[in-house]
Symmetry: C2
Subunit: 200 residues, 2 copies
Amino acid sequence: MPKQVDHRERRETIARALWRVAEQRGIAQASVREVAQEAGISHGAVQHYFATREEMLAFAMDFASEQTSLRVAEGVRELGNPPHPRDMLRVMLTEMLPLHPDARATSRMSAAYVLEALHSANIHTRARDGLTHGRDLIKQIVRQAITDGHISPDRDPATETNLLLTLTGLTPLIELGVIEPQEALTAVDQHLNQLFANKT
Amino acid sequence: MPKQVDHRERRETIARALWRVAEQRGIAQASVREVAQEAGISHGAVQHYFATREEMLAFAMDFASEQTSLRVAEGVRELGNPPHPRDMLRVMLTEMLPLHPDARATSRMSAAYVLEALHSANIHTRARDGLTHGRDLIKQIVRQAITDGHISPDRDPATETNLLLTLTGLTPLIELGVIEPQEALTAVDQHLNQLFANKT
């Protein structure tokens, strides 16, 4: 196996171990030492890949975002060609919710990362840039959907994008068992119906 | 001063110290020892009020919910009599967003508590009950607003309540500086406008 691939695989193994520690015991417990133990790798080997805990966290978050993007891309491929913007948004938004194990792992990593960002300037910048990037992607779809007549032109793309992103606010309701996954999907669909149907 | 009041005051002082530790360094750092130091009280004195860290966390969360309720009640008192359900919901939802220092402290406590709930069965139950209670209050307002003809009867109260609660999903966007507070308020107003105006 080429060395480059091996390097990448090792980093991903460590990132997944970090997700598990964060999921089971909280991100504060995700020290280099704990993550190494969870990954079944020596402390020194983890330090070889990540010089600091912050670097390790940043990679684990980037990897979570990548995995979410891959799941979204896969979901979008299964849609019609070209996909309807409503369906694309539905795939993007539901993959951000903790509705299956992979999505739960990336969702929890993401929630923990936001809290870490509140007391680390570096993480704050990275988390802000990541969220801004995701917001731009959604805004582009909303804007195009307005141009193509799927969404009423009297809707403001920025505000509607912010409201679509708030659907991730279903996460605590799902995680705490206040609502069932099906109720979360119904809420997403109701929001999308309102956005796409009311061309007043 | 009656002993009962003094006891309550001491617990609130400790709860506020815990909020500060959670806000500045993360809730995982909020051990009895750290909170005692932040509160300027001896470790033993904190243990006199709270036998365990979990008890201390639970009280700090209950106190955050109470403080939020007080701010909401104050906001609602400033509305017309009887207040319009749209305005009541606006007060409730905006006080859950980190738009001023008191709301930021309670919002961060709440976000951290949800993450703690993922790896503590006791906290999970308490957090679920608290969120269920808040959801019931909002659902009651939505239901009444439908009865009174403010919201279209073809809206489902449970789904609309879930969507109103998701507006707390604006929190990461505000905390990370992705959107300005004014954009968050615009999003809340746009959501309420859609809910109250579209009586198709």
